[in-house]
């Protein structure tokens, strides 16, 4: 693939500049008046460059990047200049704007399953963009669509061009979205969190695809992400945004090695780095093995029946594991690995269908809510989404007190005292008891959730991805709190996560799940250093680390693994 020689660049423009944003201000108008989203953003993207815009939720990174396509929510107003190949996208309208979109700049979305229309074939969707911009026959457009699909590495593109989106896997759908963006060979692609919805092993593949495309076609890419590992893996240059403003702008290597601003430093410090601060660093053997066994699974299987004769789904197959009193067991796996199902089975939220699972001596194969109920006070549960795990109509205090209301008979004053004690333990002011859940931030809600789970001094805590809905800086604080409370109270915990780095920081003993099978178990530091199973090896290699130099070496390793 050669660089296209028919570029129509503005003569006054610097030849290598694709996008220049100047003094961009964006506000959103709501009932409460205008809310500033972006303030005074200046940045530029050169041809063939990969620029990463990083920031936590609400930093304005996505809104900023989308103006490159002239896309803005209807209640938004933008002022300033967004020059794409010299044309100000903020002043273009109607047909002029449509002409530019897709031809000069294209977009890749976060969630490939929502970015593709379920009722049209993928070929139709790729061809549509092609036929909008050039008057060519259907046949020719189809040939180009097939070519684009081949380019993004979809096998058998001639047949699969006629497939509907639901017939592809998540990673392949994202490839199709990229193919549609590439179809007209735009000079700039805006990728909004393109790998956030994907598993890490798939993420690695998509990132390497983007890197290859840049090398082959010279397309500039603006990648929006919250993941520092992704930045370290792919970006040439980085823009850090916070609260609508640019905090720092630097080449990737420089930013990671010599961050100038405090915000950037704290952001980098909060990112869990694979293999650092391992909870099992000083251990050589599994601890707590002499303590009593709280959870014991033997040949555990969980099968969900399908509807109306359609095939069911086996989430967990033949899993053996043990959790001892006082031990933190980390369970890692990608989506569909069965990790959440195991956690839920232990809490009696779903039934097991084969094998044996003993929880605090109770056999879950013969589960009856009535007989299990007395044991429930010894089990705490923290859910993934802190926003959804509180009843919006009850105050935080009422929610935290619910276990007390069910299992203890306390008078209102005693309950109040206990609630303030619990809130204090999770470092929340006692006054929060009167507030409603929506008045708290995500991190505060997750603390309150922890307080509720610990209300009855449980022996066992099950934490299902407790930090994956949080920003990294908040995640770091919640993890720290979890660690402190565990040391202090000494409860056993099952910590479920897709993030190996996080699990290793908290859990001494780690199990790796792959498609319902427990493929590997061991001390966290051992599993990371010497993974035995090929899946674990791929998983570890795929996880990008927030360090461009180290990541470059790891990338070489993945390529080796993929070839082998």
């Amino acid at each position: 693939m050669k660089h296209s020689s028919t570029d129509t660049r503005h003569p006054n423009d610097a030849p290598e500049q694709v996008l220049r944003i100047e003094g961009l201000n964006i506000d959103f108008v709501t009932d409460a008046g205008a809310i500033p989203a972006v303030r005074g953003v200046d940045l530029e993207v050169k041809a063939g460059e990969i620029l990463a815009i990083v920031g936590e939720s609400g930093s304005g990174k996505s809104v900023t990047a989308r103006t490159a396509l002239g896309i803005l929510a209807e209640n938004g107003a933008a002022h300033g200049g967004v020059y794409l190949n010299g044309k100000n996208m903020l002043t273009l309208h109607g047909a002029q704007l449509r002409e530019v979109r897709g031809r000069d700049v294209a977009m890749v979305f976060q969630e490939p399953s929502t970015a593709l229309n379920p009722v049209f074939t993928v070929g139709w969707q790729i061809m549509e963009g092609i036929r909008t911009h050039s008057k060519i026959s259907k046949k020719e457009a189809k040939a180009r669509a097939i070519e684009a699909m081949r380019q993004v590495g979809i096998p058998h593109p001639e047949q699969r061009v006629n497939y509907y989106p639901h017939q592809f896997s998540g990673g392949q759908k994202q490839r199709v979205v990229i193919a549609a963006a590439l179809a007209l060979k735009p000079r700039l692609i805006v990728a909004d969190e393109p790998t956030t919805a994907l598993d890490v092993t798939v993420q690695a593949e998509i990132l390497s695809l983007l890197r290859e495309l840049r090398a082959e076609l010279g397309t500039a890419i603006v990648i929006i992400t919250h993941n520092m590992g992704v930045v370290a893996d792919i970006a040439d240059r980085v823009v850090v945004m916070n609260q609508g403003q640019i905090v720092e702008q630097a080449p990737a290597l420089e930013l990671f090695e010599r961050p100038q601003q405090d915000y950037t430093k704290s952001l980098l410090a909060a990112v869990p780095h694979l293999g650092r601060e391992s909870a099992s660093a000083s251990l050589s053997e599994r601890p707590h093995t002499d303590a009593s066994v709280l959870v014991e699974a033997k040949g555990l299987g969980v099968h969900f029946p399908g509807r109306l004769g359609s095939a069911g789904f086996t989430a967990v197959k033949d899993v053996d594991l043990k959790i001892h009193a006082g031990e933190v067991y980390g369970l890692v796996g990608e989506s569909g690995s069965g990790k959440t199902t195991i956690g839920r089975s232990i809490a009696g939220l779903n039934r097991i269908t084969s094998g044996s699972l003993k929880v605090l001596g109770y056999e879950m194969a013969a589960f009856k809510e009535r007989s299990f109920k007395p044991l429930r006070e010894q089990i705490g549960f923290v859910f993934q989404d802190p926003a959804a795990s509180f009843n919006p109509h009850l105050t935080v205090g009422e929610c935290v007190a619910e276990p007390l209301a069910v299992h203890r008979e306390l008078n209102p004053a005693q309950t109040r005292a206990k609630v303030s004690e619990l809130l204090e333990a999770v470092q929340l002011p006692a006054g929060f008891a009167q507030r409603y859940p929506h008045e708290l931030s995500g991190g505060q809600r997750q603390r309150a959730s922890l307080a509720r789970a610990l209300a009855l001094d449980p022996k066992l805590l099950i934490a299902d991805e407790p930090t994956s809905a949080l920003d990294v800086s908040v995640q770091a604080k919640v993890l720290e709190l979890f660690r402190e409370l565990q040391t202090e109270l000494g409860f056993a915990a099952l910590f479920v996560s897709h993030d190996l780095a996080v699990v290793d920081q908290l859990a001494t003993w780690v199990g790796v799940l792959y498609r319902g099978n427990l493929v590997e178990e061991g001390l966290g530091s051992k599993v990371l250093a010497k993974p035995q199973h090929t899946y674990t090896q791929r998983l570890i290699a795929s996880l990008p680390v927030p360090d461009p130099r180290e990541q470059a070496q790891r990338r070489a390793l993945i390529e080796e693994l993929n070839q082998g």
Binding site: L349, R376, A388, S389, P392, E402
Partner: protein
């Protein structure tokens, strides 16, 4: 980017009442629709309340001290909307019709609300064979033409003929039976959705009893959309009542005034060009239903923050002024 508008703690409870809070946060076209709806609804309510004071005659009065009323008389000074074939005053009958309508609406909606919500809650949460039977039953009834079901019910209840109270209750119960499946479906669907929400599961892992889960956690969260259904069903109750009356299954004209029945009588008048006997009761139905529907729809729009939109132009205008303010 989510911007939630939250009721701040210091606003009075009055301002937080459903309709009033909606009115406060509406603007532009939406406000116009809500206000129009409220005006029509209040008008309907006042007519029902003060019918005996406003109406010059009784609803079944065909004569006074000066003798029998003329039949099918065109509107004039004494009978401002004319008289019917039986000599009743159309204006008075139309006013009294609001009274009948409101009784039937309130009775029908309250009864179906209680039964439907309760069944939906229990069926959706507990599941099992009870749920399966209820769903098949509700679906079968839901798919059935509601007017036909109401006819069958009114045959069952009153053999089709009735007094004031009996007629109102017969109509109300017929309508109730039609509506229960609707409330049932809505609440059950909502309960099924909420059942998988972490806040319900967190109550389950704590060991809360099914009753506690249903009544502390599910009930209030699953009845969020009910004000809307309430207004929409009120209109459907009114239309069903009118339909029954039109087919002769309503309330005897001497027992109460009912718009649908009057329209039935007016059909033959229309053929000979007599418009006033049908127009006014008909308009009464249309305006009442429109009023209630406008209120319900506007409330629904305003309840969903994602549905509330500002035009690009307006956004530009508002921010332009802040921009100018910032640079000055």
């Amino acid at each position: 980017m989510t911007t939630q508008t939250l009721p701040s703690a210091n606003t009075s409870w009055l301002k937080q009442l459903p309709v009033i809070s909606h009115l406060r946060m509406s603007s532009g076209l939406q406000r116009g629709m809500l206000v129009a709806g409220l005006v029509l609804s209040v008008l309907f309510f006042l007519c029902a309340l003060f019918a005996p004071l406003i109406a010059p005659f009784d609803f079944a009065q065909s004569s006074d001290a000066s003798g029998d009323f003329p039949r099918q008389a065109a509107p004039d000074a004494k009978f401002i909307w004319g008289t019917t074939a039986t000599g009743y005053d159309v204006f008075s009958r139309t006013l009294y019709g609001a009274q009948t309508a409101i009784w039937v609406i309130v009775a029908a909606v309250v009864m179906s609300l209680f039964v439907g919500v309760l069944l939906g809650l229990i069926s959706g949460y507990l599941g099992g064979w009870f749920d399966r039977i209820m769903v098949v039953l509700a679906d079968a009834i839901y798919a059935f033409p509601s007017l036909l079901l109401a006819i069958v019910m009114s045959i069952v209840i009153s053999q089709g003929q009735s007094s004031l109270f009996g007629g109102i209750m017969a109509a109300a119960i017929s309508i109730t039976v039609v509506f229960i499946p609707q409330y049932f479906r809505v609440v059950r669907a909502e309960v099924m959705r909420l059942k998988a929400e972490p806040f319900v599961e967190s109550a389950q892992v704590i060991g809360a009893s099914p009753w506690r889960v249903m009544f502390t956690h599910l009930l209030r969260n699953s009845t969020r959309t009910l004000p809307l259904i309430f207004t929409l069903n009120a209109t459907e109750a009114l239309l069903t009542l009118a339909g029954l009356g039109f087919l002769g299954f309503g309330i005897e004209p001497t027992a109460a005034s009912e718009w649908g029945y009057d329209l039935n009588r007016a059909m033959s008048d229309a053929t000979s060009g007599i418009w006033w006997t049908g127009l006014f009761p008909g308009l009464a139905i249309v305006l009442t239903v429109m009023g209630l529907t406008l209120v319900g729809e506007s409330m629904n729009d305003l309840n969903d923050p994602r549905l509330r939109r500002f035009s690009r132009k307006k956004a530009k205008r508002i921010t332009q002024s802040t921009q100018r303010g910032a640079t000055q």
